[in-house]
Structures are given as structure tokens and as C-alpha cells.
């Protein structure tokens, strides 16, 4: 057993998992509050990636891309804000008019939204793969072994740290603030929450916005990490993050993060030790197994059927 190789896969897996986790939180939060899967969420993530790339190109044109921290912060905030507007729009257009209608209607309109956003980006930005120049290079060599050096790049450190910070901030938001309380109240009984003065529509919109903001961070991280994006990245990442949310227990915030990390690790180790071509098969195999044996996920609570 080559421990260096193992450690490297672990680092890669955690990085990938952090990104999946950030997207999965959006699925899980929206599911928690309206009990439906937001199938346009993967596209929101893709749009976040595009926003960060466009912001970078504007910075470059303005000649401020030399100041790296400023550029990164601009990319982060501009992309979070613009993508949040898309998240809000998805709720406003595809969900709110259908509130109170049968569940399948909202599901179909979300899928329609997803197709629309994908094609919108394909037409407006072109179908070709967009390159992104590496902004953060270098890293730390953690361990040297005869045939392999374990690298922890600065980019990976940033991804893992930023994810951790965002997780803490959002958990506090949900647990401690009045907005979070309102969200949990709406999760349990929307009518009652409304009767107590909670603006239910606005709370649901805020949930979509929060999910979109996190997805846009994930999009930006992927843009910087892999250096290429295209209009189609949202589909696979979205489905994998959905798998992560289901694995962790849909509706549970820590579950989404845990599920994301596990999916990232499974993918990294599968590609590292087995066949890279079959890594998606492994991921979705997990989805099937979870749905059969533990549909409420690792940290979720089994739904008790009320009679």
C-alpha cells in the first residue's frame, strides 16, 4: 500500500467533496422548505461559474487582475450576487406560481427551467469550452516518497477552508437568527408560520437565494480549480450533488456536507485505484443503494407515516 498515493487521493477527494457539498446544501435547503427538488440547481451552479469567469475577464480588461486578492473577492461577491438573482428568479418563475398545485407540476417546471438556463448559456456564451487561466498556483509538498510527492495546492486549501467557513456561517444563520428560525418554521408548517407573521413567500425566496449563493461559490471554485467550464457542467455536478444530498439525508444541512465529502472521496478513490471511466457509475451506484437500503440517508430522520 502506497500511503503517499492514498493521501493524495484523500486530499483530492476532500476538495471535490467540498464542492459537491456546497451544491448539495442548496438541494437540501430547498427540499427542506418546500419538499421539492430544485432540478434547476445544477444550472445555477453552472451560471455561478460563468459569472465568476466573466467577472475575471472584466477585471482583466480593467487592468486590475494583477491585484489577486481584490480580483478574487470581486469574483466571489459579484458571482454570488448575480447568481442569487437567478436563484430568486427560478423560484419566482418556476415555483411560486405553482405553489399549491400538484407536486409533479413544480417538478416539471423546474426541469423546464433547467433546460432553459442551459440553452440560454449555450446561446449567449457559446457552446465551446471556456478556458480560465490559473490564478492561484503552487502548493505545499506534504510528503515525499520514492516515486510520488504528495501535493496540497493552495487552491485546494482555499476550497476546503472556504467551504468550512461557509458551512459554519450558514449553520449559525439557520440555528441562531430569526431568518433561520423562520425557515425551520416554514419547513414544519407553512400555514402556521404565516399565521404567526412569517412571510412565507419571502422566506422561501431567501432559501433559494442562499442555495444559489453557495452554488455560485462552488462554481467559482471549480472554474479556478479545473480551469475549464462549459454550459453543460451543471448537469453532472447537479446530479452528483443531489446524490450527495440524498446520501447525507435530504433536508439535513450537515448531512449534505457529509454526503458531499463522501461522494467526493468515493469518486477520488475509485478513479485512483480502479477505473477512472467508471467513477460516475460508482457514484450513482451509491444513489441506488442508498435509495434501496436507507432512503432517509445517513443523517436524515426516517419519515414516520402518520395515520
Amino acid at each position: 500500500m502506497d500511503w503517499a498515493y492514498f493521501l493524495q487521493q484523500l486530499i483530492n477527494g476532500l476538495t471535490l467533496g467540498a464542492i459537491y457539498g456546497l451544491i448539495a446544501i442548496g438541494y437540501t435547503m430547498v427540499y427542506g422548505i418546500i419538499g421539492m427538488i430544485n432540478f434547476a440547481h445544477g444550472e445555477i451552479y453552472m451560471i455561478g461559474a460563468f459569472h465568476s469567469l466573466i467577472t475575471f475577464l472584466i477585471c482583466q480588461a480593467a487592468g486590475i487582475s494583477g491585484i489577486l486578492p481584490l480580483t478574487l473577492l470581486l469574483m466571489l461577491f459579484v458571482s454570488m450576487i448575480l447568481t442569487s438573482i437567478y436563484g430568486w428568479g427560478v423560484e419566482r418563475v418556476a415555483y411560486r406560481p405553482l405553489r399549491g398545485s400538484f407536486r409533479l407540476a413544480a417538478l416539471i417546471s423546474a426541469i423546464g427551467m433547467s433546460i432553459f438556463l442551459q440553452n440560454f448559456v449555450q446561446i449567449s456564451q457559446g457552446a465551446r469550452v471556456k478556458p480560465m487561466q490559473p490564478l492561484i498556483e503552487g502548493g505545499i509538498t506534504l510528503m515525499r516518497s520514492p516515486n510520488f510527492d504528495v501535493q496540497l495546492s493552495y487552491m485546494q486549501i482555499i476550497i476546503i477552508l472556504l467551504t468550512f467557513v461557509l458551512m459554519v456561517v450558514f449553520s449559525t444563520l439557520i440555528a441562531k437568527t430569526s431568518l433561520g428560525r423562520a425557515q425551520r418554521a416554514c419547513e414544519q408548517d407553512r400555514t402556521m408560520a404565516g399565521l404567526l407573521g412569517v412571510n412565507v413567500d419571502r422566506t422561501i425566496s431567501t432559501t433559494f437565494v442562499m442555495g444559489a449563493a453557495l452554488a455560485s461559490v462552488a462554481g467559482m471554485m471549480v472554474t479556478l480549480y479545473y480551469g475549464v467550464i462549459d454550459f453543460y457542467i451543471g448537469f453532472l455536478a447537479g446530479v452528483k450533488a443531489f446524490t450527495a444530498a440524498v446520501l447525507g439525508g435530504i433536508g439535513s444541512l450537515p448531512g449534505a456536507m457529509l454526503g458531499g465529502l463522501l461522494i467526493g472521496l468515493i469518486e477520488a478513490f475509485w478513479s485512483g485505484y480502479l477505473t477512472i471511466e467508471y467513477k460516475d457509475v460508482a457514484t450513482f451506484g451509491i444513489l441506488v443503494l442508498v435509495l434501496i437500503f436507507r432512503p432517509w440517508g445517513l443523517l436524515g430522520k426516517p419519515e414516520v407515516e402518520k395515520v
Binding site: S178, R181, L195, L196, G197, V200
Partner: protein, 284 residues
């Protein structure tokens, strides 16, 4: 008398297709009084509540609430604006607490509007900034007051769903009061309570009436509660008001007895029914 009116219902009619659930109902509920609405099943009692709390838009009629800062028309606003703009709070026949949240959180959620105004979309809440911290302290004080009042202070950190049934009922009333309403609508608060809990409930409702000076509207089947604590009783039957007055007058009203027991020439009530109505069988 008129300046003491809390709620004025005028010619309220609610139709569902061909079904007339409430037919030209008018009544008033006064501040600092408990107004009970009673009637056989299907008389339209809960429909009145649903009109008051924005679930239904009345087909006809006017609902005026005289809050501290002037009259408001209830049928004009809906949804989450009801508690904020209108000051109407309500409890349900089947308890609707947020069972996944703690007892304390249930009471804090009810003060959501005050907190949201102070929290600048939760950003201030996240960093615990001045105004929000103050508003939150205020909310905690209010919650504490009501926890003490309903005797749940020790259970503040329990999951609301783990409370015994009677405590859940009291918590629901406390939560409604945290909205700071001008009118509190209680839908069968005594349902499922044992006699001791029911007596405790009477004390609680009376103290809300006397200390807060707000109007209480009560739907209740338990006549021991209705007769003991209400100041004013309205009897509905098939959506129509058939009696209106103080409890003594209402329970002796022949129209009420007919509605409850059916058209019958036989004046003799079965003893258990008489006991329910608190009539002395020998006196009748």
C-alpha cells in the same frame, strides 16, 4: 359600550358553491371579555375563525377589528399580514406546534416580525449587532413571561413535540399570545384535556382576559369551560345565529336547547345531557 368593542362582525356570509356555511351572521366581541361561539357540529364555528384569520375571503360582510391604533378591516388582508396588520392570533383544534423546535423557539418564531425588522435580513442577527441583540433580548423576555405564565419555564429547552398533550395546548396559547394580538381566537382549547388540565386552562384564559385586556374568541364544546369562563355566548346553528347573550340566558334559551337536542315536544332532557348543559334536571 361601543368604545369597548374589539371585533365587530357585520352580515358575514360565507358560501362554498351552493353550501351556505355562514348566513348573515352579526355579532360583536368586546375587549376584556371571553366570547364563546358554540353550536352543534357543522354549525360554521370554525368557518368564522377561518374568515377572521384570512383562510377564507368572506362572500359578503364586514369584519372590523378595533385594535389599539384604530379599526382595521380583516377581510382585506391575507396570509402572513394577518398577525402583523390585524393583530389576530389563533390556535387550532388539532395542535399545530413546530414539533421539531424547542419550546422557547416556538415562542420566538411568533415574534418574527419584530426581530426581522431589527435584523436587516439576518445579517445583523449573524453578527449579533446592537439593535438586533436588543430586539432579541426583548423577545426572550416576552417568551420567558409566557413560559412562566403557562408553567413551562422548566421545559423551555424541550422539543415541543415531546411535551405532554396538555402542555402542548398551553404552549400553543402562549405562542399565539407572543404575536401580541388584539384578538385571540381559540379553536377548542379544552379538547382532549382531562378535568384538571381543563381547570388550569380556565385559569389561564381568565388571566389573559383580565391582565392583557384583549378580546378572546372561543370555540368550545366543553360546556363546563364555556359556562364557567365566558362572558358572552353566541350560538350558531346551520350558519345562523340563534342566540346571543350571557351564559345564563343562553343555556335556558329554548332555541338553543332545540338546536342541541332536536325538535321534540318532550321537555324532559336525558339526565346526562342536562348535566352537560349544567342544568339541574329537577329545576327544569
Amino acid at each position: 359600550m361601543t368604545d369597548n368593542v374589539q371585533l365587530e362582525v357585520e352580515h358575514l356570509t360565507m358560501r362554498f358553491g351552493g353550501l351556505v356555511a355562514i348566513d348573515d351572521l352579526s355579532f360583536t366581541a368586546r375587549k376584556g371579555e371571553i366570547t364563546a361561539i358554540i353550536g352543534p357540529n357543522g354549525a360554521g364555528k370554525t368557518t368564522v375563525f377561518n374568515c377572521l384569520t384570512g383562510f377564507y375571503v368572506p362572500t359578503e360582510g364586514r369584519l372590523t377589528l378595533y385594535a389599539n391604533d384604530g379599526p382595521r378591516l380583516l377581510e382585506r388582508s391575507e396570509g402572513f399580514r394577518i398577525p402583523r396588520n390585524n393583530g389576530v392570533a389563533r390556535t387550532f383544534q388539532n395542535i399545530r406546534l413546530f414539533t421539531g423546535m424547542t419550546v422557547l423557539e416556538n415562542l420566538i418564531v411568533a415574534q418574527h416580525n419584530a426581530l426581522m425588522e431589527a435584523s436587516a435580513f439576518s445579517l445583523a442577527g449573524l453578527f449579533n449587532l446592537g439593535r438586533y441583540a436588543k430586539a432579541e433580548k426583548q423577545a426572550l423576555e416576552t417568551a420567558k413571561f409566557w413560559l412562566n405564565k403557562v408553567g413551562l419555564y422548566e421545559q423551555a429547552d424541550w422539543n415541543a413535540g415531546n411535551l405532554p398533550y396538555g402542555s402542548q395546548r398551553r404552549l400553543e396559547i402562549a405562542r399565539a399570545m407572543c404575536v401580541n394580538p388584539s384578538l385571540l381566537c381559540l379553536d377548542e382549547p379544552a379538547a382532549g384535556l382531562n378535568p384538571r388540565e381543563s381547570a388550569e386552562l380556565n385559569v389561564l384564559l381568565q388571566s389573559i382576559r383580565d391582565d392583557q385586556g384583549i378580546g378572546l374568541l372561543l370555540i368550545e364544546h366543553d360546556m363546563s369551560v364555556v359556562m364557567k369562563i365566558s362572558d358572552h355566548v353566541i350560538v350558531l346553528d346551520y350558519g345562523k345565529k340563534i342566540a346571543d347573550g350571557d351564559p345564563e340566558a343562553v343555556k335556558n334559551d329554548p332555541a338553543v336547547i332545540r338546536a342541541y337536542l332536536g325538535e321534540d315536544d318532550d321537555d324532559e332532557l336525558p339526565p346526562e345531557v342536562a348535566a352537560d348543559l349544567h342544568l339541574d334536571p329537577k329545576a327544569t
